[in-house]
Amino acid sequence: MDTLDIKEAAAPRTEKSTTLTGSQALLEGLLFEGVTTIFGYPGGAIMPIYDALYDYHDKLEHILVRHEQGGIHAAQGFARSSGKVGVVFATSGPGATNLITGIADAMIDSTPLVCITGQVFAHLLGTDAFQETDVVNITAPVTKWNYQITDATEIPGVLAKAFHIARTGRPGPVLIDITKNAQIQQFEFTGYEPCNHIRSYRPAPKVRKSYVEQAAKLINEAKKPFVIFGQGVILGEAEKEFTAFIEKAGLPAAWTILGESAIPTDHFLNVGMLGMHGNYAPNVLTNECDVLIAVGMRFDDRVTGRLDKYAKQAKIVHLDIDPAEIDKNVQVTVPVWGDCKETLPMLTALLDQREHKDWLAKFRELEQQEIDEVIAPELNPTGDVMSMGEVIKVLNELTGGEAIIVTDVGQHQMVACRYADFKQSRSNITSGGLGTMGFGLPAAIGAKYGAPDRTVVAICGDGGIQMTIQEFGTIMQFGAEVKTLILNNHFLGMVRQWQQLFNDKRYSFVNITSPDFIKVAEGYGIAGKSIDQRTDLRAALKEMLDHKGAYVLEVMVGKENNVFPMVPQGCSVSEIRLK
């Protein structure tokens, strides 16, 4: 059948109605919500939806992935690069359980997703039917909301609710499980009404002016104020408001890896990366500032290190949209509960114009120490083997910081986050909270669909790439122009580093062998090259970026290089080691 005219379909509750199947109503709803791209994999229990999709192929682009985990990571990459809700389809049972890693990843990294899973016929629920899994209960702890539909008439309302919940407040993944009978069932479709209110759900809390005033007073009186920010700035689309805030009061600002790229790398108040492998100055000075202002971040343990020695000298202001984050890990002095898009301008208006030159100089002074001891040797190594850092440095020079960098998880991730340059927001896509190896390649595919005009580079290690390498097949079939940069050190490097530092170099099962990645890529029809000489680096990276189409570049890097600085587990941020 032809798809409905959207305006007509959306006309609220007129006498006009159309007979649709549940599957058709679902696709109409997706169109109404502005969905253009779906990542998915068919199977028995979702076949009616795929059958309906056959008629919508000109309006809804469906990317057939090679594994459901690849599908959901792609949806995550799509959401992160575009700011829209990512959509993924999977069948019941194994299809749905293969989504779990990505759902958990999206939950902890606040990524808006709507996951649609097929389910066995309603009359078979609970009978251990073929490919039946209790998906709603399995995903309860890792979804912001989920719901099982057993009757087609519920589909428009539930889908509207799902999008509303996924994208508002603190975003997150939502899952709708639809039994096969509901997908097939015909009903009178009277129109799709978007949801903008659920009585039990308060996505955007009202801001308490008095706390904004108290926060402003603290910041105005501070001698050594320090801002730490996370993805909340990006999710709230508050990059401009945030920049105005730090610029007015001259506030040095450091980022969590999910907050990276919210302000440009070269912004004069950007003092670098927080946390375990972050920069020296922001970690050390966390324990010297007098007022610590946290914006849209959640004091993850990788950021705070040992909590009882974390910023104890400071008054703490915490801006967050999620009330459950206030005081969860760090006891705050003034909580500013609300959407930072709203609270930041209120706060900025009350701030005195300041520069804090001496305080900022202190950051630069410590930064110089880090440059001398860590950064310079990493970016300009004198030995024969290449370092990960120098690869990123040359990549920066060639992309001008304009590319979207998607990373996998491990040493290369830390190096990429530390050294990659960014000029615009939504450019650093990485698995932060969950630390999901295998995230990089599929997320990069999704990121490319979310931002088709931008260069997307997936930076992966030799371990992580092998977890989802099958997604080369998705690139082969659908042509996503993803540049995959494999930094190969022949080790599961991060674990190896820990074993070296903390387990007496007992390298237990971190020595991983890899296939010939370039031959694998070739098998998938993707061009590629492997290099192990510094002299080839620039030309090879340039070839990768200039190549029309996807490309795989493998760079052999030092086998036993370590990522420094490092805050060892159980230590305070100010005990950060430069070597």
């Binding site: 309860a140 659920i198 039990s200 308060r202 009202k206 706390y211 108290q214 909580p335």
Partner: protein, 215 residues
Amino acid sequence: MKNQASIKYAPAADSSSASHQKKEFTISVFTENQIGLLSRIAIIFSRRKINVESLNVSPTEIEGISRFTIVIAEVEEVVSKLNRQIEKQVEVLKSYYNVSEDIVWQELAMYKVPTNVISEKAKVERLLREYGAQAVAIRSDYTVFETVGHREETDGLLNALAPYGLIEFVRSARVAIIKDSEGFHAKLKEFEQHEPSQEVIENEYLDKRDEVFTM
């Protein structure tokens, strides 16, 4: 409804404070009547390895609104964090936590005892009177009594009956009324508005900040 204000906020830094001792808290959660929510709420506790001592789900004075009554023994700081995690659930309207002094609460217990023991032993009869037990079923072979009261009371009769051939014992979850609650009607009306008032988006935690904020 300001009943939650009866719990005084105590900063975590004050380690000598009573808030760092585990005590019994009753959490009252007002929710939509939704399949799956029970499991979502249970997970909040089990994920943190916190034992739920008692859990009751019941209707409320308002059709379609359910009320969870959950009893746990924890330090107040943890309870307050759990409360916010509960409120974070999309289908939870409001959650309160109270210490026992703030609530009127009851549990119901039933005891099955051999009828011949009761009819023969005068002491058992005295016990039943003492604990205010009522017979709810009398058969030739056994009799079922019930008592309603606090844990100590129902436990008291349990212990007292143990030597007399108690066959079976069961106790219900706690149900509790918050002493200074004005019911949920007014609150719900505000939740139904598109732009909830200040009162609805109140945050007990933030309210208490007025008392602890220092410059």
